[in-house]
């Protein structure tokens, strides 16, 4: 993380506030805090804030606010909250049916890592993963914190169509495909939860930047029952707020 953040111009309608040039959780927590603070201030002319791993993009209408005025407002917001970035954790439980028809690449991952399927599941569900950002497609989350022993490179030949909900591994990353899309991640399971729902305008994605994801192994029967509840809008995802500093490592 930089000692002092950098303002980078990105055209006539976007200003990038850069906190780091690497994946850095502290920088990410800080920029999530800045985003909350700025949103609460309702700065005139701002269209939206987009947090990424290490920066906050501020999209604005240059007819309504100047870049100089924005930098000033951001500077003022930064001074208004302390350096403590550890807030409570918002944890979302994500049920996953692992292996078999749900995870066609489980064998690949097992071969590459030298771990049996049960051990892969134990490790994948054993650590909470932090959502740094959403991007790529609607609702796709970039998660960090997967057990290093599960690292597996992407497929050599990406699939043309991966069903929504598929949970995969790509190098050190893990995550779930939010909509049907092409992709090259090694698929180890699938969640029955609806990750992207455009009819819910306030919260179209299940996961928000800054959430912690706790993968929970479910049987194929549980998968199907949750899937049918989720499809009819009756399933309420399990969420919890846990105290700061409780670095829970399960298993």
């Amino acid at each position: 993380m930089y000692d002092a953040l950098r303002f980078l111009g990105s055209g006539d309608s976007c200003l990038v506030v850069e906190f780091a040039d690497s994946i850095d959780m502290e920088a990410n927590l800080r920029l999530q805090n800045l985003r909350r603070e700025l949103s609460a201030r309702n700065i005139r002319g701002v269209r939206e804030y987009v947090p990424t791993y290490r920066s906050l993009s501020v999209y604005f209408d240059p007819m309504a606010v100047s870049r100089a005025r924005l930098e000033e407002a951001i500077g003022a917001a930064l001074g208004s909250f302390g350096a403590d970035v550890r807030g409570d954790r918002r944890v979302l439980a994500m049920p996953v049916a692992y292996g078999g028809e749900f995870g066609p690449d489980m064998e690949n991952v097992s071969r590459h890592t030298g771990l049996p399927e049960e051990e892969i599941i134990r490790r994948h569900t054993g650590r909470d993963c932090y959502c740094y950002m959403l991007g790529f497609t609607p609702g796709f989350s970039y998660l960090g914190g997967m057990d290093e022993a599960l690292e597996t490179p992407r497929l050599e030949n990406p699939r043309v169509l991966i069903p929504a909900g598929s949970v995969g591994i790509a190098g050190r990353q893990t995550g779930a495909y939010s909509i049907d899309s092409p992709g090259g991640w090694q698929l180890i399971g699938r969640t029955p939860l609806k990750l992207f729902d455009p009819s819910d305008e306030m919260n179209p994605t299940l996961i928000s930047p800054g959430d912690w994801i706790r993968f929970v192994s479910v049987s194929p029967e549980e998968y199907r029952s949750i899937a049918s509840e989720a499809a009819s809008g009756r399933y309420v995802p399990v969420r919890a707020v846990e105290e700061a500093g409780s670095d829970v490592v399960h298993g």
Binding site: G9, G11, G139, P198, S199
Partner: protein, 331 residues
């Protein structure tokens, strides 16, 4: 109130000014490739600037109106015909129910145009917008391009809509008037990943639009841009008009359906005005970049806003003088 699609053309989709407010959830803004043409078309009709229209690419669209309407084609001149007769672009046409509106083809000033209707296209709002984003099947007509047989809803026309009939945009207020203008750009957030020579190539060379273009991005052919740092960065936001330069050294300008985030270095960002100008170019078209300051880019936008206000005033006075043409008719 609706129209029926007889022939969908190469690609025709519904667009308003975009789905703002959801990029943090990975949902791109979409919106028109040439927002200035769409907004001008809406102002000609007395519409809200954000009213949805049909974005027509290249040629071939043919529709039949199931209701009387006022329409205008704004953007590239696609040789529109109404019931077989030539109907000039940038002019409001009053069209009886049952009329057939057809696009002939390009005439040299661009490849995208907006067919605007009084009151706008009435497809449902999805996450606050009617814009079509085909990759995620969002908005528009079931999230896809129009196809034959579609019956597309239209909104209630705006008050006094018939009185706009015959009103035309003066040539000097048309955003497409200089098809070959230089493309303004500002140094991007990773301009320091390129050598001095690389920057000179970008701002000095002539590029051509490749065959690989869509609503997501425009790949350009031309000399390789020299770099001094890795082409990959830890992903961050991609602004409209951002110019990514991946490992192959050739620029890709990110357009309306761009991904919200990405991991390639961005040498420059095209000005909001010029992104729309670039969007009118076809494969093989020339592109030359001109380095501008943010202030210069913003003042071009301000000029457009002033032009649009002028046009809005002209339309209002045209409409108020138009009552004699509709004597005895209830409007």
């Amino acid at each position: 109130m609706s129209f029926t699609v007889e022939k969908p053309g190469v690609m025709t989709i519904v667009q308003d000014l975009g789905r703002w407010g959801h990029q943090s959830r990975g949902v791109t803004v979409s919106g028109p490739m040439d927002q200035f043409s769409l907004r001008t078309g809406n102002v000609l009709l007395g519409n809200d600037q954000n009213d949805a229209a049909l974005e027509i690419t290249l040629f071939g669209l043919e529709i039949v109106l199931n209701v009387e309407q006022c329409v205008v084609l704004a953007g590239a001149d696609l040789n529109m015909r109404i019931n077989g007769a030539p109907a000039p672009a940038w002019t409001v046409h009053r069209v009886p129910r049952g009329s057939r509106i057809a696009m002939g083809g390009m005439s040299g000033d661009g490849c995208r145009s907006y067919l605007c209707f009084s009151g706008g296209v009435g497809v449902p709002l999805v996450m606050g917008s009617r814009s079509t984003y085909t990759k995620a099947s969002l908005g528009g007509c079931e999230g896809r391009a129009l196809k034959s047989g579609d019956v597309v809803p239209l909104n209630e026309p705006r008050p006094l809509w018939r009185r706009c009939a015959g009103f035309a945009c003066p040539p000097e207020l048309r955003p497409t008037r200089v098809p070959s203008e230089m493309i303004s750009a500002m140094d991007g957030p990773q301009a320091d990943a390129f050598t001095q020579a690389g920057m000179e190539t970008f701002y000095g060379a002539t590029f051509t639009v490749s065959n690989d273009i869509d609503r997501m991005g425009y790949r350009l052919d031309g000399p390789e841009i020299e770099r001094c740092k890795s082409p990959d960065i830890v992903s961050d936001g991609i602004a409209h008009g951002a110019v990514q330069v991946p490992g192959h050294g050739r620029p890709i300008v990110m357009m309306s359906d761009r991904q919200t985030t990405g991991g390639y270095t961005k040498i420059a960002v095209v000005s909001t005005w010029s992104v729309a100008r670039l969007a009118q170019r076809m494969p093989g078209g020339e592109v030359r970049f001109r380095r501008v300051t943010e202030d210069e880019a913003v003042s071009r936008l301000a000029e457009f806003e002033r032009n649009l206000e002028t046009l809005d005033d002209m339309r209002a006075s045209y409409r108020s003088r138009a009552h004699w043409r509709f004597e005895g008719e209830v409007i």
